[in-house]
C-alpha cells in the first residue's frame, strides 16, 4: 500500500479534510468516505456517465479521477442540489415528466445538465440529445428525459422572471 495523502476539499458547500490512499477513485471517496451514495457507479471506466458530478462547476466522470486530485477543489453531487421538500427544478421536472424510472442514471444526468442549462437556457431537442450523449439510461428510451429537460428549462425561465 502506498502512503496516504492529506487532502482538503469542499463537497456540497461542506469542507472536508481527509487522508486518502492515492489509488482511491473520487467516486469511491464520495460514496465510502463521505457516505454520499447518490453518486452511482455503473461501468467504472468512463462510458456510462452514472458517476457524473460537478468539479469546479464542470461535469466530470468521478470514476476517472483520483480523490487525491480533488485537493483544493469544489465538488457538487446530487445531495447538494435540492432537498426532498425543495427539489431543484431539474429534479422536479424529471419527476413530473417521467424522466426517472429505476433512477440509477438520474443523478449523473441531472448534474451533467446543470451547467448545460446555464449556458443554454432555451435548448432545442437536438441540443438536449447532444448534451446527454455521455449518459446512458437503460429504462426510459431518453424521450421522457428530453421532455424533462424542456420542462426544466421552462421552469427555470419562469423562476428567473419572478
Amino acid at each position: 500500500m502506498s502512503k496516504p495523502v492529506d487532502i482538503a476539499l469542499t463537497v456540497n458547500n461542506n469542507h472536508y479534510i481527509r487522508s486518502v490512499e492515492p489509488r482511491l477513485l473520487l467516486s469511491d471517496f464520495l460514496r465510502h468516505e463521505l457516505g454520499l451514495t447518490g453518486t452511482h457507479i455503473g461501468c467504472e471506466h468512463g462510458v456510462c456517465g452514472a458517476c457524473s458530478i460537478l468539479f469546479d462547476g464542470q461535469p466530470i466522470r468521478s470514476c476517472l479521477m483520483f480523490a487525491v486530485q480533488a485537493d483544493g477543489h469544489e465538488i457538487l453531487t446530487i445531495e447538494g442540489l435540492g432537498t426532498k421538500d425543495n427539489l431543484h427544478p431539474l429534479q422536479e421536472s424529471f419527476k413530473e415528466a417521467h424522466g426517472v424510472q429505476c433512477g440509477f442514471c438520474t443523478p449523473g444526468f441531472i448534474l451533467t445538465l446543470i451547467p448545460f442549462l446555464e449556458k443554454n437556457p432555451n435548448p432545442d431537442e437536438w441540443e438536449i440529445r447532444k448534451a446527454i450523449s455521455g449518459n446512458i439510461c437503460r429504462c426510459t428510451g431518453y424521450q421522457h428525459i428530453v421532455d424533462a429537460v424542456k420542462l426544466a428549462a421552462e421552469k427555470m425561465a419562469a423562476n428567473r422572471k419572478e
Binding site: 502506498s2 489509488r23 456517465g49 450523449s133 455521455g134
Partner: protein, 293 residues
C-alpha cells in the same frame, strides 16, 4: 475494478516533474487528464508503480497566438478549453472542428491536448489533425528539449517517440497558407464513440485554382494516423473535380491503408468508409479553400 497501488507525486513545476521522471523512468506514468490512463488502471491493464500527476502544473494550460500567425497549445490545455477558444476557431479551424467529436462532455472537461497526443491512440482525432496541420511537439527531459514533427512522433500502436523521462510540453502549429481549406469527417456508432474511420483533409489551391498541396490523414485504420500519400500525389497540380477527387479517395481506401477487423467493424467496411469519407473530406476542404465552404 480498482487501480493497483502506486506512489503518487503531484509536482507544481515542469522541472520538478522532470526530476520524478528522470528518477522513475519506465516505472512511472504521467497523469494528465487521466481519461484514458485511469480506465486502463481501473481495468489493471496499466499498473504503473509511480504516478506523476501534472495537473498542478499551471504553466502548461495555455493556448497562445504565435508571432508567425500560428499557435501554441500547452500540453495541459483541456479539451473544453480548446473547444471554446476563439483563437483556435480563428487559427486552427480543423482542430476546432475536431473537438466535438472527442468523447463526451464529461471527458472533455478533464482530457487534455497533450494527453491525447502522448497516448497515441490510432483513433485519436487530435493525433490525425496534428499531422494534417503539420504541427510539432516540444518534448523535454532533464538533459534538454527537442521538437518532433507530428508525422514523426507517432511510431506504432499507442507508441510514440516520447521517452520515459520526457514530458510533452506543447504543440505548435504553423499558420496555414492562403487559399487553404480543412475538413474533418468521421463515422462513429454513437456520437461520442471512437471513430470507426475518420479523415482529415487539408487542401491548398494556387491562383489558378489548381491543387498546390493536399494532406489526407486517416484515423482508426492503422497503428497511428495514416497519411494517404498516393492519393495526395494523384491530386497535386491537378484541378479538383468530382472525378479526380473520387479517384483519389478510392486510392486512399484501396492502396494507402491496410485497416484491420475488430468487433466494431470489418476491414472491408473500414475500407468502404475510408473511400466515402476521404471523398467527403476532400470536397469539403476544397470548397473551403475556394471560400465556398
Amino acid at each position: 475494478m480498482k487501480p493497483a497501488p502506486f506512489e503518487y507525486f503531484a509536482p507544481t513545476t515542469i522541472d520538478e516533474a522532470l526530476v520524478h521522471l528522470a528518477e522513475y523512468g519506465y516505472d512511472a506514468k504521467v497523469l494528465a487528464g487521466g481519461q484514458s490512463l485511469i480506465p486502463m488502471m481501473n481495468f489493471r491493464l496499466a499498473q504503473p508503480s509511480v504516478i506523476v500527476d501534472i495537473n498542478k502544473i499551471n504553466e502548461l494550460s495555455y493556448i497562445r497566438a504565435n508571432e508567425d500567425g500560428g499557435l501554441r497549445i500547452g500540453a495541459m490545455a483541456r479539451h473544453n478549453q480548446v473547444e471554446h477558444s476563439s483563437l483556435i476557431a480563428d487559427r486552427a479551424a480543423l482542430i476546432f472542428e475536431a473537438m466535438p467529436h472527442i468523447a463526451t462532455v464529461q471527458v472533455r472537461s478533464r482530457g487534455t491536448f497533450g494527453g491525447s497526443i502522448a497516448h497515441a491512440d490510432p483513433s485519436a482525432e487530435l493525433a490525425a489533425v496534428s499531422v494534417a496541420l503539420e504541427g510539432s511537439f516540444l518534448l523535454r527531459n532533464q538533459r534538454g528539449e527537442r521538437w518532433v514533427p507530428a508525422n514523426e512522433f507517432f511510431v506504432g500502436l499507442f507508441t510514440s517517440v516520447l521517452e520515459p523521462d520526457e514530458l510533452l510540453i506543447e504543440a505548435k502549429f504553423p499558420p496555414l497558407p492562403e487559399r487553404t481549406g480543412c475538413a474533418l469527417v468521421e463515422v462513429a456508432r454513437r456520437s461520442h464513440d471512437f471513430a470507426l474511420v475518420g479523415v482529415a483533409a487539408v487542401v491548398t489551391l494556387d491562383k489558378d485554382n489548381l491543387c498546390q498541396r493536399v494532406r489526407l490523414i486517416l484515423l482508426s485504420v492503422g497503428d497511428g494516423p495514416v497519411e494517404a500519400h498516393q492519393a495526395a500525389e494523384m491530386l497535386k497540380g491537378k484541378e479538383l473535380t468530382a472525378e479526380s477527387i473520387r479517384a483519389a479517395a478510392e486510392t486512399a481506401a484501396k492502396k494507402d491503408i491496410d485497416p484491420g477487423s475488430d468487433i466494431h467493424a470489418s476491414a472491408e467496411y473500414r475500407r468502404h468508409l475510408a473511400g466515402v469519407l476521404s471523398r467527403r473530406a476532400l470536397v469539403k476542404a476544397y470548397d473551403r479553400a475556394r471560400g465556398d465552404g
